[in-house]
């Protein structure tokens, strides 16, 4: 494969409940391009769109991609993927590629939260919450809606205070009511927002503490883009967190690196050429037809 190496590229696509992400890596697992976009209701169309966009950004064509791994909640809806791999595996791989010493990864997504224990780059244990909106990005969305704010404004405003209001309700529905009560009592907005972040962090940290939280701890997922949330997590955990520059794409990055590993295995078994032929005749056609 060495002679091919410089030309080959690999892609990972992560169709999350809220956002879809795609990453292309080269033979050295170095990231060439990434894109992030809302998932929406039609997963298949979205999968084609993020793939098209990431190809354009990397200045590559679909034929240049040797192997594609799909992951995330909508991973079955990526018809042109060579393989589906669970988000936990992809996520662990992506995080470990950025932070090789990572021992704990906390990911808060649009509708779930996960805690991963990682050792020597391998997933050793995990817990997830997808049963309850409290402790997920959805709680933030509900709070933003209630307050009439944009998500990115919320983080900035919350940073203006060190005296968060206590939000007692862990249930999102009741917290919404509580936010309104606190507003009507005249509590300052930054304090309420900081209180919302502390409430989410409390819920997630409770999950994380069921596994042992060992450092270094990496914080990822769409919610990790929010500075107010990072501060709240650090406050509740009582430790510093590492946050990747682009915390949304670790799952897609892991998927792309795993795609590279999968392709190398095929080469070693002497099966790569036949795989490639099959792929060019079926899956890629599906991609170009549906994507256009």
């Amino acid at each position: 494969m060495n002679n091919l190496a410089s030309q080959l590229h690999f892609a990972g696509i992560d169709i999350g409940s809220t956002m879809s992400k795609a990453v292309i890596v080269d033979a050295e697992s170095a990231m060439k391009a990434y894109v992030v976009g809302p998932t929406g209701a039609e997963h298949r169309r979205r999968a084609n769109k993020v793939m098209e966009d990431v190809l354009a950004r990397a200045d590559l064509k679909i034929e240049d991609i040797a192997y594609i791994v799909s992951t995330g909640y909508g991973r079955v809806n990526v018809p042109f993927a060579d393989k589906q791999i669970t988000e936990l595996t992809c996520h662990a791989r992506g995080v470990a590629s950025l932070f090789p010493d990572v021992r704990t990864a906390i990911d808060i997504g649009g509708q779930d939260a996960k805690v991963l224990k990682i050792k020597n780059g391998r997933l050793t244990d995990f817990l997830t919450n997808d049963k309850c909106a409290a402790g997920t990005g959805r709680f933030l969305e509900v709070a933003a809606e209630t307050l009439g704010l944009e998500l990115n404004e919320m983080g900035r405003i919350s940073m203006q205070t060190d005296t968060p209001v206590k939000i007692n309700s862990l249930c999102t529905i009741f917290a919404q009511q509580e936010i309104i009560s606190r507003l009507s009592e005249g509590q300052p907005l930054p304090d309420i927002l900081a209180g919302v972040y502390i409430a989410i962090a409390t819920r997630v940290v409770k999950l994380a503490r069921q596994l042992k939280v060992e450092t270094p701890v990496v914080f990822t997922g769409g919610v990790a883009k929010n500075a107010g949330m990072v501060k709240a997590m650090e406050t509740v955990l009582g430790m510093k967190l590492l946050v990747p520059q682009e915390p949304l794409i670790t799952g897609a990055l892991g998927a792309a690196i795993l795609a590279r590993d999968q392709a190398y295995q095929l080469v070693q078994r002497g099966e790569y050429d036949s795989h490639r032929e099959k792929k060019l005749s079926e899956a890629y056609i599906e991609f170009t037809e549906k994507g256009s």
Partner: protein
């Protein structure tokens, strides 16, 4: 002791007051709690007095319970488990199990033959384990709370939901509506979700008859039926299930 005694229950959704004269209910009132519990307590108290045709001075003692009960200005405060139990004892001396579906959570209480508390389980504050989910649903479906029960009983194919969180259910209900699920089937499906939460809470408790269901949730015949099915029980219902804890508080005020 003879004379009038007042019980006040300030819940997250509704505030209730009951006045007793011996074992007889002389007057009662239910109002929304709003955001100020002290105001709600004063208002509901005045309403109950008015309904009983009494004056403040006629009341010998008051007791309060519920989320906002400590702000009710009563002579004493008692936990909701005890007040639920005493209220149920008064109306159903044979009760051995109490299921209270409130506005913010629920509780299951088991009683001995003498009507004393043996064990209990309180849900965490969760909209799905309470009547609050029904409010959310009524809003989405554009119907009144009291229409939910009768409508749900017409269900032929209750909808299945993949989540038990009210926030996620809200989205899923909208999806189901767009897929053409009938409102009655959606309601029946939601009743099952709430009933499952109650079942989870009752796990580890031995539920013996008679079972009495109280709280706002007991006013919804569809929910009562779903709970009966999931727990494989038959239940007794008070005429006015929302005021049972307030009744219990009034009885405690009389006894102390």
């Amino acid at each position: 002791m003879s004379g009038y005694y007042l019980g006040i229950d300030i819940g997250s959704a509704g505030s209730k007051a009951v006045i007793v004269d011996g074992a007889k209910i002389s007057g009662w009132a239910v109002i929304p709690s709003g955001t100020n519990y002290a105001t709600a307590a004063a208002t509901v108290r005045a309403r109950a007095l008015e309904q009983a045709g009494l004056k403040e001075g006629d009341i010998k003692a008051t007791a309060a319970t519920g989320t906002g009960g400590r702000n009710a200005g009563a002579d004493s405060y008692h936990g909701v488990i005890l007040c639920d139990t005493r209220g149920v004892n008064t109306l159903f001396p044979t009760a051995r199990t109490v299921i209270d579906i409130g506005g913010q959570g629920s509780q299951v209480i088991t009683l001995d033959e003498a009507g004393k508390v043996v064990n209990f389980s309180i849900s965490e504050i969760c909209a799905t384990g309470s009547a609050r989910l029904l409010q959310v649903l009524a809003r989405i479906l554009g119907i009144k709370m009291e229409e939910i029960g009768p409508l749900s009983l017409k269900a032929t194919r209750p909808s299945n939901f993949s989540t038990s969180c009210s926030v996620f259910l809200e989205t899923e209900v909208i999806t189901r509506i767009s897929q053409g699920d009938k409102p009655e089937d959606i309601l029946a499906g939601i009743h099952r979700s709430i009933a499952e939460k109650v079942v989870a809470m009752a796990r580890g408790l031995t539920l013996q008859p008679d079972v009495v269901i109280i709280g706002g949730g007991a006013m919804d015949g569809g929910l009562v039926q779903a709970i009966e099915e999931k727990l494989d029980i038959k239940s007794l219902l008070p005429e006015n299930p929302r005021i049972i804890a307030a009744l219990g508080a009034a009885v405690i005020a009389r006894e102390t």
